[in-house]
Every structure is written in C-alpha cells, then in structure tokens.
Amino acid sequence: MSVYAELQAASNYSFLRGASHPQELIERAAALGHHAIAITDRNSLAGVVRAHIAARENVAAHEKGAMRLIPGARLDLTASLAVQDEYSGPSFLCLPTDRAAYGRLSSLLTIGKRRAPKGQCWITLEDVLRHARGQILIALPPAPSALQDEFKCEAAFAAMLEGFAAAAGKMSVPCYLAAHHLCRGDDARRLVRFEAIAQRCGTPLVATNDVHAHDPSRRALQDVLTCIREHCTIDSAGWRLQANAERHLKSGAEMARLFARHGDAVARSIEIADACRFSLDELRYEYPADPISGGRTPQEELARLSWLGAAARWPGGVPDKVRAQINHELELIGTLGYAPYFLTVHDIVCFARRRSILCQGRGSAANSAVCYCLTITAVDPNRMDLLFERFVSAARDEPPDIDVDFEHERREEVIQYIYKKYGREHAGIAATVISYRSRSAVREVGKALGLSGDVVGALSSALRRWGRSDNSGEDDIDDPVREAGLDPTDRRLALALHLTRELIGFPRHLSQHVGGFVITRGPLSEMVPVMNAAMVERTNIEWDKDDLDALGILKIDVLALGMLSCIRKSLGLLAEEHGWNLELADVPAEDPVVYDMLCKADTVGVFQIESRAQMSMLPRLKPRTFYDLVIEVAIVRPGPIQGDMVHPYLRRRNGEEQAVFPSAELEQVLGKTLGVPLFQEQAMKIAIVAAGFTPEEADKLRRAMATFRRSGLVHTFHDKMINGMVARGYDEEFAERCFRQIEGFGDYGFPESHAASFALLVYVSAWLKCHYPAIFAAAILNSQPMGFYAPAQLVRDARAHGVLVLDVDVNSSAWDCSLEVSEKSHKGRALRLGFREIKGFPEVAAARIVAARGGGYRTLADLHRHADLSKAVLERLARADAFRSMGLSRRKAAWEIRALNDVPLPLFATLVDGREEGEHEAKYESGVDLPKMRLGEQVVEDYATLRLSLRCHPVQLLRPELTPRGIVRAEQLVNLKPERRVSVAGLVLMRQRPGTAKGVIFATLEDESGSANVIIWSDVFERFRNVVIAARLLVCTGRLQREGLVIHIIAQQLEDLSHRLDGLVDLGRADGPPASPAELPVISRDFH
C-alpha cells in the first residue's frame, strides 16, 4: 500500500531547472509505488499534458493500483507588480481539486503571463487569493541558499504565511506548509522550527521532496542546467549549484524514514492527493458555436451551405455520385458533432475570399465533397474519383484535420481576423516546444563546462557525423571525435558528450506554432494558460500540437504558402492583361499541352515538382492525368524512397511488370497505386489489415517513428508488424519494405489528401507557366523568396520560353516586375524587371520614382530632384545599370552622382534648371575619360547588384578557355553517347545530401545552355571535399548516364574554377593590376 504521494516535482518544463522529462518522473513514481505525483512546474502547465499521457499509458499497462497524476503548478510570486521579478516573492504549490479550480489556476497563470514579457509571469499574493477557491495551496519554505540570515528570513516568512493562511481560511481554502529533508545538515532543527511555524499559522506540515529529477544520476545534468541558466561555467558556479542530489524521487519508505519524527507530514501527502480529484480527461473540449441566423443548428446550417455550394459548383446539377457522397459525409459529421468546426473553417475561408486572399485547404478532412462545396478546397471530388470515404474516422474518435494555406504575404490579415472575431479569450495559437538539438545542446553544455568555442565547434561536427551514421551506439562516437582532432578519453570531453546526449530533446523554451489556432467556446484561459508571443499582436497557449491531439482539442492550421501568392498574382495579371478572370477551380482541367510540358520535366517554378528529384521522376512517370500528379507529389518523398517503392511502381506503371496484390484485402488498399503503397494512410492501413494492428496502434506506430527514432519502442513495433504480416501469409521482404516506408513517413508523412491539394496547385502553376510564361515569371519573381530557384534561373527559364526580359530602368520599372506590350515576346507580353530585383533597394524609393515619373526622367538631376532620392539610392541604381534610357552607362552615372549635392536647394534648382544640367555635361563629358566597361565587368556587376545578368552567362565568357579543354555545354549532353566520359562546367546551383541517399551528394551545375545534374559518390566526395564544399564554378568530369530524358554525370574528377569567376572583371584586359576581388555571387541551395 502506498504511503506517500509526491506533491512537488519540477519537470524539465521548468526550463533549465528540472532535469527529467515528465514521462520519466511519471514512470519512476509509478515504479516506486507512489500513491500519486503532482507535476508542479514553475508558473507553468506546459508539461502536464505529457505527464498526463505517460500516466494514462501507465494506467493502461498496470490496470490496478495505478498511480494518479495531479496536474498543478508551482507559483513563484513577485513581491509586487512594481518589482516585476518572478522570484521576488514567496512560492506556493497550487493543486486544483476540481475542473473549476483548474480553470482558475490556468486563468491565474494567464493573468501573470499576459502582463509580463514573453517567458515571464508576474503573479502577486493577491492574485493567488483571488483564484484560490478550490485549490490546495502548499507554502514553500524560503529558498535554503538565500544569503540572508536564516532566522530573520524565517520570521518574515512566518509572518507572511500567517496572514495568508488566515485570508485563505476565510475562503476555506486549505493551506499547508511544505517540509523538506534534503540532507543539509540542519534538517532536524529546521523541521522542528517549521513545525512550530506550521502550528502558529494553522498550516499543517506536509512532506515533499522538491523533486527536480527522477534519479540522482541526473545531478550532473542538473548542475549544467544551472550553469546555463546562470550564464556561468561549472567551475565558477560555486554555491549556485546544489550540494547534493537529494532532490530526486524517493520511495515512500525512505520518505517515511526521513520524516520519522513528523510522521503525519508524510501521511498528509496522501490526504492531499486524495482531495485533488481533477484529471485532464475532464477537459471536455467544446467547439465554439458561431451565432447562426434563422435559428438553425450548426448541422442544419452546414447542410444548407453545402447544398448551396454544390449547386454553384455544378450549375448543371449535382452528379449522383457526388450527391451520395455529400449525404454520407454530412451524416458522419452530424454523428461526430463536427459541424461547427467545418463552419469555422468556412467562415475563415469566406473572409479570405472577401479580401481576395487566395487560400486552399488540405488535411485529411479537407478533400471531402463538403469542403469542395464550401470552397475550402478546389479539388473536384469527381476528378479525384472519391477515394476519401474515410475522411474522418468514426471508429477512432480522431478530430478532423483541416489545414488551410494562405498567401504567404497576407496570412497575418487572416490571423488578426480570427483574433478579432473570437477574441483573445477564445482564440490562441498553439505553442511549439523548442527542444535542444545536438548543435544547441553541445554548445550550451560546452560553454557550461568551460570548453573553448573551438572545441565546441569540433564536438558539434563530430556529433553531427555520429548522428548520421547508421548504428549510433554509445561508443561509436569516439571515432568521429578523434576525427575532429579531439581526444575522446579526455574527461571533460567525455562528460560534455555524455551530458550533451542527455540534454538533447530537453525542451528549451516555448515558441509559437506557425499557425495552429485553438478556438474554444468557454474562455480559453480556463483550459490552458495563454501567454504573450514574441511577435506583437500575437498570443499563444502553453501546449503544443501533440498535447492538443492527446486531449482531443481541435485546431485549425492557418498556414502560409508562397505558391498561393504567386498564383494569385498570376491570376491578377491574367485578368489585367488578357481580361480573363479565373479562380483556382476554374482553370481549364486536364489540358494535354500542360501534361506534355510536365512529361518533359520543363517545370522550373512549378509548385512542388520543380526540385531536381521531382524533375528526374517526371519523364519516368509521364503524368497524363490529375491523379498522376497526386502520385508524382507523393512518390518523391522519404517514405516511398526509403521503402523502395518507387521503382516497383514505375515498372508497373510502364507495363514492365504485372500489378500483383499480395492479398485481396490489400487490393482494396493498394488498388489505386498498382499494389505499391505510396501514401501515408496506405502504409497505416497495411499495418491494420495485414499485420493486425488496431487503428490506434497504427497511429502510435507512426508517432513513435517521428519522436523516438532511436528508442527501443520502434523495435517492438517492427517485430510486431513483421511477425503479424508473415503470420498472415505475406512475404517477409514485402513486410520489411512496408515497415521501412512507415519509418520514412514518420518524419515527412504525405497523406493522399495533402498530395491531392498540392497536386491542384501543381496543375494550376504548370498551366500558367505553360500558357502564360511571362505572367507566371512576373508573378513568381514578385512573390520571392519562395520555391526552389533563384531569380536568375527563373528569368533564364522565362527567356528560354520565348519571353523577352527587359532590364531594370528608372524610366520603365516599378517595384514589382511588370509586363510590357511587345511584339517580340511570347503572347505579346515582355517582362520588365522591377526594382525589387536590385539587391537592397528600398521599396519606398521605388514608389517615389514611379510617382514622380510623369513623362519620364531626362537627366539624372531630374530624377534626383523630383523623386527625392538619396545619393546612396542613386548609386545603387547606377550600379544596377538602370540609367540606360538616359544614355548613361554605369560608370558615367556613378561619376555624375558622386558630384551631385545631396540636398538640392529647391528654389535655386528650379531657377537654374537648364544651366545646371549643362554644367554637369561639361564636367563629365569634356573633363574626364572614364575607362570603358568590358563585358566581363558588366556581367560581374550585374550579378553583384541583380544576382543575374541579361547580357551574358558568366560561363559563356569563359567558354573560349573551356572548349579547348574538352568541356562541353550542358545542352550537348543529350546528344552524347551514354557511359562515355564527359566534362561540364557550371555555376553550382545546389548541393544536396539527402538523408535517404547514404552520403551521396547531388549537385546541379548551370552553364549558358542549361543545367547538368551531377552525382558525387561519397568516396569521390571525400577526395574532393574542399572543391565540392567551396566551389561556385565547378568543373565535373565523369561518366555520362542517361535514362530517357534524365541525364546524370557520375563525377570522377572535380575542379574548382571559382577564381576564374572572380577574374571575369579582368577578362580581355592586357595589363595593369588585377581589380580587387569582386566576387561574383552565386546563390546555391546547399545541403538541405
């Protein structure tokens, strides 16, 4: 029979104080046979849900005599609001006895957090009293390390407690005094003194152990946390550290022994624990009901809106299949009571449409007929062949999940709308727990142990390498450490590594989720504390999305997507230029010309399928229908790749292999994808139908993959799944592949519904690019930064598609890239680059140039005066060569600008208008002959200011020296014989080392004719390490590999020619000193 309940335990959600995860505390307390454990983090409830989950699992495992969790908090009070210091006042444990009291505790914390800056909480004694009803309050003795005189501070404490207990007593709030026995030498005497205080104040003593760790072995980590918190090293921390490790979970027997002379103090812990009946399971989440006109129920309203929408979507009458689907879905929604949730999403989407903010929903529930009717998504369920009958599961009480993507530049408007509509009392953004990862952990631990930044850097890289290796056991780290030039047997280093690995995964602070909104009917703050976010005008709650999931709380993800901005801008330009008003769903479907383009992998700028991996997949997959795009989006993901599903699918699709199904039950699951599991839900479904998992287990399996990649849990699932499938007569190898795929999904799951939503954006962006390349290029340039390619490649691609691209010019450009009528260009529209392409150009200056342009600027002085531009801005324009319409070259413009006065005298200026111009002419024309700029210099300057050049590709300038070396152009590769040895040279556009490719590096090189794909095996990489990492201009010699349209070069030799790029300024120059290194910048996407 348990004799003790631990009522004071700080988890690592008491940031930089607690040294154990909530789960560890729960598991240990349960193992010790405690009656209950209270998780009492400092001014926070952030860790209670995790503890709750652990406790729930523990109950499931041990059924009888299970230990209970008491969610609570330790309140560290501020002496007064004027002091504004979290820790200047006394501290109490606050344990709510019921749901209402829990709500008051949460509100109390909300008040404290909302009035303090992010990460702090200011609560006073009065605040506590105001929220005390239903709580059990346990006063904590003043901190033992306080430097004041012990007796004096105890007297002050007793006085405070007496007053407080009297006030609390009037409200019949039970008040206790915590007694600690921490082996400080004077414990016996202290306990006697506190017994006296307890008697005087009427606050009975209750034993707690001020738990900061589940096990004494965490002492070192706890000391390091203290150092991190105090910004000191372990050597200088001194008395800020604890003298011993007594603050860990101790057994009931041990506690009874320590408090032998105060026996009732231990017994009292049980009494208090029994009084606290609240469990987080009681947080019955209620979705807010928007007021509905006409007295309809939410369900009626949803049905009404759905049918209304259906009528609009299918003006010619709703197809029967769809009608049945809608009925089915509405029924399911009605059963589960999710109608208000759908209405909320509908409302948000309607708001966005009113503001013409483009948006699209995705998520398991999004691709339903209802969502299509409510215009939440634009994926026609008819077109999708209605695969999603399982869009919400009735069996598992899984909340529906709709994420809505908005244009990335305008999402904030939507967020503020939600705050405004529901109020901050009912809406808040979920938290994201920022945890220590290997890099941050090693840095902090290293600093605390006094290691130099140098050593920490080396350790960090060693850890990275260790983390990448396949079987990273405890001891395998020695080699990487040695490689980094360090001695792994050095004690400090060994300690640092050990502690780093302990610290990894510890929560560091709370941040806000990118856009997960929680909306409640009752006050949000009575469910979970709400705090200020770092961003102004934002508030977020203390729980993250896993916590919310565990408690079944609905959230709506309001996310940002760059491609939506691009599409909206494209559609806007389309309406402007060609008078064609389109919406996402109206874009002509299944256009064969678009699919022709996709089959050629001509997809620079197209959503999702523009990456190199996608591009090499397209010619193999040859998409011809919308569903092919859905597959295309889903197949190039870690899941299918790791599971080795890609090639079987391609073979079957190309008819090289029969689509066979391991069993009839799996044919149901895998029929659409030719027997190969490609989507997340298919993999889960296999676990269910083929391995006999319950849906819950399947989901747990996926989560286990994501969170505990290296823990033993995965192995139990592995065995269970393989055995289950083999037992049901499946091939063991097939089972292994399925499991590996789930492993991949764990990190980057891509369910079919997401793929479908994305596929629509793929199609729309491809359609725009195919038919209106100038419009598409302008829109995507104006939505930067987004996507995979830099402006240089986007512009280059547009030109390759017949679009005339015009330079930035003060007399023609606006901030954004714009379209000009031109016969020479595709569809009669040329693309004029905007001032936004000039690096570091201020947007306001662009606005002034446009506003004051009138009939155009004739001279520099004109521009200077009328547009009121500073010299620095003018110089930037000169560097970008934006004065050509005035007949000024870069250098002439710069020369003249140097002579301008920064502040012209307006009166004087107008008087001598003509004369002043003449004066300038005389100065630069007759006086000085500036050296003429050669092409190489121009290109370097173009790249320096615009990151691109319309004049010439840098590699083309070097071609005369490349050709004699046998280096071919990228466009020639297609005509060369496979397997032969070739050399190409190009700017490095990207270097990638995908986790799925075992150390292989993929690099893309760009020359004047196109781009070439290079594959660098790890042994070649090790030989040419420096070259691969540092080169901007790379020469690659290797074996040509071709499969249809997909061409790779398997690198054998690599050479860094970057210095020739920097030498471009001197190209064609006979004598004189070299220019100071003008580095030609190459933007490369590296190692993502």
């Binding site: 850097g457 004690r491 710069a894």
Partner: protein, 600 residues
C-alpha cells in the same frame, strides 16, 4: 632626400607562433578569433569563430584565408592546427621587433592596421582578422653605415628570415610609396617594373629598392589599394573603372576632389612625395621619467643604488606635481656594449615615497649584470594612478577613497584588510606585502580567500597576495582547484546554515566509529586511539563530490560513491568534532569514517 623602408610581415601571427613550436612551420596552422566584428556589426550574439591568420601551409593546401569561418576551414582541412589569435601578444612581439630594428635606425614606426590596410584606423572597429603587421624604418642617411641601401635591405630581410618571419621590404622616397610597393609590388608586375631599371639587380627576392625620384613610375601600375585609402573610397574609384594608381595621374584634381574629397589626393600626394607624411616613433614616453648619464660607467652596487635613490627622489617631485603615485616603475640601465638591463617593480597601491620604492628595488639590484658598467640610467613611472597631494603616510584605504578608478583594490584585497582588522594597519600590510613579494617573488606571497565550492577542501584558496594590476604574471594559473584568473571571486559570504570548523585537518584522519545505518550520526568513535562517546550530534550534511573534476572523481551515475555525510558531534567532555562517512551504506560495503576538523 628622405629614404624610408616599409617592412611587411604578411604572416606575422602564425610565424610568431611557429617560432615557439618549430614543427608548426610545415603544418597547416591558423589562428582563430571571435568573428563578431567582421561585418562591422558590433559584438552581437551568435558570433562565429573565424580564421584570423593562416600560414602558408594552410593557404596552399586548402586555400584557407583570413575571414573564413573556422567550421569551413575545418571542413576543408581535417587535422588543421588552430590557435587562438592573440592581438596583444602580436602587438607586443611587433613592438619588440621594432625595438630590435633600432640597430639600423632609431626612427622606427609601427604599421599595424586592419584587413583593409587603410592606414587610418579611425572609426573602424579593431579586428584580429587579417590584421596586417608592418614597420616603417626611416633610414635617411643611414644606409652608408651598412654598405648601401641594397645591403641594408638585404641585411634586414636576411635576419628576419633567420628568425622565421616571412617579410617583404621596399626602400623608397616616401612612406606611402614604400608601403604600396612592399605590399602590391610583387609577383608578375615586378618584372614590368624591372624594365625601368629602378631595381638594383642584387637585391634579395622579397626586397625592392626604388631609386630616388622613381616613385611615380614604380607606382603607376600598382592597384589603388596601395594608396591606403578607406575601403569605400577604393571601391568607389574602382567602380568608375580606375584600377591602378597611375589611372589617377591624369584626372583633374578638382574633378576628383569634388567627388572624393581631399583624402584621395592627399594620399596620392604623399605617395608621390608632393606632400609630407611624418612618421611617429614607436616607444611611448612615460610622462614621469628621469635620466642620468655618466661620463665614466658605473658598475658597483653602491653606485647604482645611490643613482637609483637619486632618481627616485627626483621622480617623487615629478609625480607630486602631477598628483600621481606610481603603480609600476621601470628602471633601465644601459650598458656600454649596447645591452639594456631592465628592472620592473609593481606596487599594490599608488606610491611616491622614495624610501618605500627603494626597498622594492634594493633586493633585485644584486641580480643586475653590470658587465663593464652602465653609462646611462633611466627611471620611468610606467604606470601611475592619482594620489592626493596631502598624503604623507601610505594608506591603501585612503587611496581607495581618493581614486575613482576601481582597479585599486579588488574585493579580495579588501577582504584581506577586513581580516587583518584595524584600518590604520592597512598601509603597513600593503607595504609588507610589497616588500615580501619583492623579496620572495610575487607568486610566493599568498593570502587566503573564500572560493565558492561545496567541497570543504576546495572552499578556500590562496591567491597571490599582491593583487595589483601589474602583478598579473603571464605564467600559467595554478591547476587546482580551478583557473583562478577566470573565476570572479564574489565578496564571499558563506551560505547560510553551513557550519564549518575554522581549520580543517591537513587531511582527513580515519576514525573507527559506530553508527546506526543508514545515516544516523555515530554513537562513539575512536580517534588517535582515544574513544569519544557522542552525546550530541547534528547532521548529516550530504556533500557530493564535484563530478567535473578530473581523474579519480566518481563516474557519472555512481552517485552513492561520491557522497560524504558530514556530522557535527560533541563528546561527553564538550569537545566538538566534524567527521564524515565516506559513502552511503550499501549491501556488502562498509564505508569508512573520517575526522575532518575540530570546532572551537
């Protein structure tokens, strides 16, 4: 005609380190520093370690150059040897080198500038990255002493090479021209310059001698950077297409000045000798400095002591006039054969009194090697601090009051004075410490201080007693218990509730004790063969060993082994002891009992 050498030491930082450890010369070696200032963005957070200087091996092997993030450098070259960049040490070494160059000319000026080598370091934050190290030697009228200009340059380079310093030297009419040519006149452009016959054929590889009046031609093809302009000016000019210094020769002065101010013209004129550029000699001159020359060298100790006494008296007057007291004195004794003997003394409080200062010198005068005698003696107050005029007796406390600067007394020394007690004794103690330190050596006179540690043995340390700013010897800090220099000693209060005997036994002594398990105090114990029966006891105070200490400490996780439980006990005769049990009781293990101290 003025003749100036510009000496450039392109790899000074790494060469200096290689002198200390010669096998580094062939290994790739870099110095690294906090690169926070590289972008001029001040010292914000998230600074990256960057390469400050790289030796030839590092550069040729992997193209590692100053400014490269350390992580990148490591990625390029596994096994790269790194050392922290030490700007101060570099500066000191360069200064020493400058002094050494005094053998050719007394007029040596430092030329140590940042990466852009702009010459005017105004405004730009100092950075160690790519720091440039050079010297100017004004050798006007000196060359004939060394066999001509070429011979002088060769001699200079030869000796530097012998020391292991890569160096380039140019002798020209102006500091500016010499600077530009030594830095940018090498490589392929050298050949071009040769055609003009400015170069004497016999000059060493890295040396150049520009004949008088040939500046203009020698500079014409050199890059603009050779003008020591600000980075923005150089860039501005380059942007207009000007590359070489000669490109500017034909530009009208007015047009250039209107656009770039006078700075560009000024530098150009200086390089071409159209404007003067003074060089300031290196050694800073102490404000309070006295000197005595002797026609006949002195060698006896008495004579030297008398001289020092005389100079101290003289110096006192100067210091008094300035309202200062000396914190550090430098006595230089110049020997006839060119060797210089230097004696330094430091004080823990500003002092003027000759008698006190004399005592500080007295002990070390014996060690002076007079050789054939000194012909000149200087005494300089190289560090001073305000000291009130009226003061007659020395009092550290009074000095503290009169000086606003916080360096006078650090908390430790205050602590010391508190322990000593009476205030009027402070000066006595300070003087005593000075004398003892002077006689016994700085590191041999120590005092006791608290150190914040839970482990009783580590909670008291003995830092150097004379803790003045001048006393920080560059030797290594004591290894145990912690690098003291890095630890800020707070005004040490003992944490509440920790009761310790005033003195601990030198080392704990084993006792036999009988106690109840697991953690009751002993009932009786036997120490030095006498049995003590415990009548009163308090405890345990559980102290865990400091796990981060090196060898012998318990491994992580083995918590029970590294714990001591301390008890205060009183025996039947009222004697109080402090003893501890070495570990917790566990099955099969009987921890030992130790007596660690006595109360009262």
């Amino acid at each position: 005609m003025r003749r100036v050498i510009s000496l450039w030491l392109p790899r000074f930082a790494t060469d200096r380190l290689s002198r200390r450890q010669s096998d580094w010369r062939a290994e790739p070696l870099v110095t690294v520093c906090d690169g926070g200032d590289l972008d001029g963005g001040g010292r914000g957070g998230g600074a990256v370690m960057r390469v400050a200087a790289a030796n030839r091996a590092a550069e040729t092997a992997a193209g590692i150059a100053p400014g490269l993030p350390l992580a990148d450098a490591r990625a390029r070259l596994l096994g790269l040897c790194t050392m922290p960049a030490e700007g101060q040490a570099d500066r000191e070494a360069l200064a020493a080198l400058a002094d050494w160059c005094g053998r050719w000319t007394p007029w040596v000026a430092l030329d140590a500038t940042g990466p852009n080598a702009t010459g005017d370091a105004t405004g730009e934050p100092e950075t160690l990255i790519g720091a440039s190290h050079g010297l100017w030697l004004d050798v006007t009228g000196c060359a004939h002493l060394f066999g001509g200009e070429t011979a002088l340059v060769n001699d200079l380079l030869h000796r530097l090479a012998h020391f292991g310093f890569a160096a380039r030297a140019t002798l020209a009419d102006t500091p500016g021209a010499a600077w530009a040519i030594s830095r940018y006149g090498g490589g392929k452009h050298r050949a071009g310059a040769k055609q003009g016959n400015e170069v004497e054929p016999s000059v060493r590889k890295n040396g150049r001698v520009i004949a008088p009046g040939k500046n203009r031609a020698a500079l014409a093809k050199l890059p603009l950077k050779g003008l020591r302009l600000g980075a923005s000016e150089t860039k501005g000019l380059e942007r207009l297409g000007f590359r070489a210094i000669g490109d500017l020769y034909g530009i009208p002065r007015g047009a250039l000045a209107r656009r770039f101010g006078d700075g560009v013209m000024q530098r150009l004129d200086q390089a071409l000798g159209r404007a003067d550029e003074p060089l300031s000699p290196r050694r800073p001159v102490a404000a309070q400095r006295v000197r005595q020359d002797f026609a006949e060298p002195i060698a006896s100790r008495e004579a030297i002591a008398a001289t020092v006494q005389r100079l101290l008296n003289e110096l006192e007057g100067l210091l008094e006039l300035a309202g200062k007291g000396a914190r550090q004195l430098e006595l230089s004794l110049y020997r006839g054969d060119g060797k210089v003997e230097r004696l330094m003394v430091g004080t823990s409080a500003p002092v003027r009194a000759p008698a006190h200062l004399m005592r500080l010198f007295a002990d070390s005068l014996d060690e002076v090697d007079a050789g054939f005698g000194f012909d000149s003696v200087t005494l300089a107050a190289s560090q001073t601090q305000a000291l009130a005029l009226t003061q007659l007796a020395l009092s550290a406390a009074a000095a503290t009051e009169t000086t606003p600067t916080p360096t006078t007394t650090t908390p430790e020394s205050q602590n010391l004075f508190e322990q000593v007690g009476a205030e009027e004794d402070d000066g006595e103690v300070a003087r005593l410490i000075d004398r003892l330190s002077g006689r016994l050596g700085l590191r041999n006179v120590r005092r006791l201080a608290l150190f914040p540690s839970h482990e009783p043995e580590l909670a008291v340390i003995s830092p150097v007693a004379q803790s003045s700013t001048t006393a920080q010897a560059p030797t290594a800090a004591p290894p145990n218990p912690a690098p003291i220099n890095t630890v800020r000693l707070q005004p040490s209060h003992w944490p509440a509730g920790r009761q310790r005997p005033l003195r601990l036994l030198p080392r704990p002594e084993a006792v036999e004790a009988i106690a109840m398990v697991p953690d009751d105090p002993p009932v009786m114990f036997r120490w030095r063969r006498i049995l003590h029966r415990v009548v009163k006891a308090d405890g345990p105070e559980r102290i865990a060993a400091e796990w981060w200490h090196a060898e012998g400490a318990a491994p992580l996780g083995g918590a029970a082994d590294s714990i001591r439980d301390y008890y205060r006990v009183e025996d039947e005769r009222g004697r109080r002891f402090w003893l501890y049990r070495d570990a917790l009781y566990r099955s099969g293990m009987t921890p030992g009992w130790w007596l660690h101290g006595l109360f009262g």
